[in-house]
Amino acid sequence: MTELPGQTATPTDANGQDAGDQDASSSSLGTESGIDLDDALIRVEGLRFTRGEREIFSGIELKVPRGKITAIMGPSGTGKTTLLKLIGGQLTPSAGRVEIAGQHVHGLSRRELFRMRRRMGMLFQSGALFSDLSVFENVAFPLRVHTDLPDAMIRDIVLIKLESVGLRGARELMPAELSGGMTRRVALARAIALDPDLIMYDEPFAGQDPISMGVLVNLIRRLNDALDMTALVVSHDIKETLTIADYVYVIADGKVMAQGTPAELNADADPRVAQFIHGKPDGPVPFHYPAPDFEGDILDGRESSAESSGRRQSS
């Protein structure tokens, strides 16, 4: 078991180079479609991260182009949320580097890190609104703590942000009174309150009804166009994500499996990529969390429950 990191190291290194090669080829392709990977706001190099004994990332390489919408896709449990937390400096990688606008995120002091985060917004999967503050105060929170704006101005900004997510009328409600989709939209308004340079969305489409899904897709696109924000969308909703993304990374098994513009990925011949992009249930990418053989597992369970019920009867 202790040899595991050593064993995975070799294939990973090979794959890291692989990703590098792909990178070079796709950036030349990318220039044609207006994506310049050299003008990157975020650079992730050789990122490794382990949880317990499980290596979640074994050498991730990616660049998030400035002013574009970049998507990171992958099956659930591959570590997409973890990746966002690594980029935001909440988790520390075991190796590798994350740079945002030239700053080495994990080399910053706690103070510098908090200062850097004012320039980024993050939309959590659960919304994570402050439960003791009203919708209005939730959106006003970043403004109150980071600016000295007068109350009237804060009020205007908050109402503009709430209007843009369609919830100006809900400003007096408390978070407990909102539906899941509304919570997510208020959280979005809060994330953009300070007009950040970078906004990270964790599963923005998960659990949304078709209408709010459409609203959100438009909203993300519009924010990006109007405010020139760099957006990083993490999602397993392939269809919606491909419609808004300018550039896409697919991660699986702790590495970048494929990258390119949506058109490039749609045309990708790699069976693993095709399986994921076209949502086929069967293929080379396993859908299951690592587990022992299914049949054996069930029979084992039967034997032991038979044993225990036998024991219960005899006692």
């Binding site: 937390k85 935001g88 909440q90 706690r110 908090f114 200062r115 850097m116 985060r117 004012r118 980024m120 917004g121 993050m122 959590f124 659960s126 994570a128 609104l129 402050f130 439960s131 929170f141 970043p142 703590v145 980071h146 959280a187 809060r190």
Partner: protein
Amino acid sequence: MSALNRGLLGSITSLGRSSIEVIAAVGRAGILLVQAGIGIPSREGIGLWVRQMHFVGVLSLAIVLVSGLFIGMVLALQGYTILVGFGAEEALGQMVSLSLLRELAPVVAALLFAGRAGSALTAEIGLMKATEQLTSMEMIGVDPLKRIVAPRLWAGFVSLPLLTIGFSVVGIWGGKLVGVDWLGIYEGAYWSSMQSNVDFIGDVMNGVVKSLVFGLVVSWIAVFQGYDLIPTSEGISRATTRTVVYSSLAVLGLDFVLTAVMFGDIG
């Protein structure tokens, strides 16, 4: 033989592992105390602290005062039956006030405080952690140690001594109710035995010092348990229990140590 060895080795291993875990937790708690407790409060920070004084202090007032009343009354009743045997029932005021000021008020108020306010602090911070409110605050660029933990820590530290003083006052008054109004001791004797035998520094201030220490320890345990818990519903319930158990043990243990230091040379 080898089975015995393995059993022994296993228990040594697990002992070692849990010792390391305890030391690591104490280390994390220390870091939390330094990062949350030290720093110049902003005007906003003072507002947050006042708000927490309400939740932590004012809302614990009722249970603390009612308990203080009953404990003072019981002390007077018990003390009277003993003192009257020596014809010394005039000393009841002294007995009630010294028991309360030195011992019962700091300790009982701290235990009640751990159950009422400490557990609530742990659950509140834990729920914020479980619903990612702390994480999202960090991502907004606000340190939850300063904004969430610090006001609660300081509110606990300041409010327990005040609650303890309230406990003593009400307890002494409860002793008077029983001793003077019910059992018929001369009221002048009740107050004057107190006046001439209670030392401000030696008794009152020592009690306050005790309650400051307990206030710090209980609030520290409570916020740390909340901040450090595993963010699931089971994690929250366990941490809440741990807060009450650890605080109670810490209060009783520290009370012995402090009493030995403060009053050890008297007897």
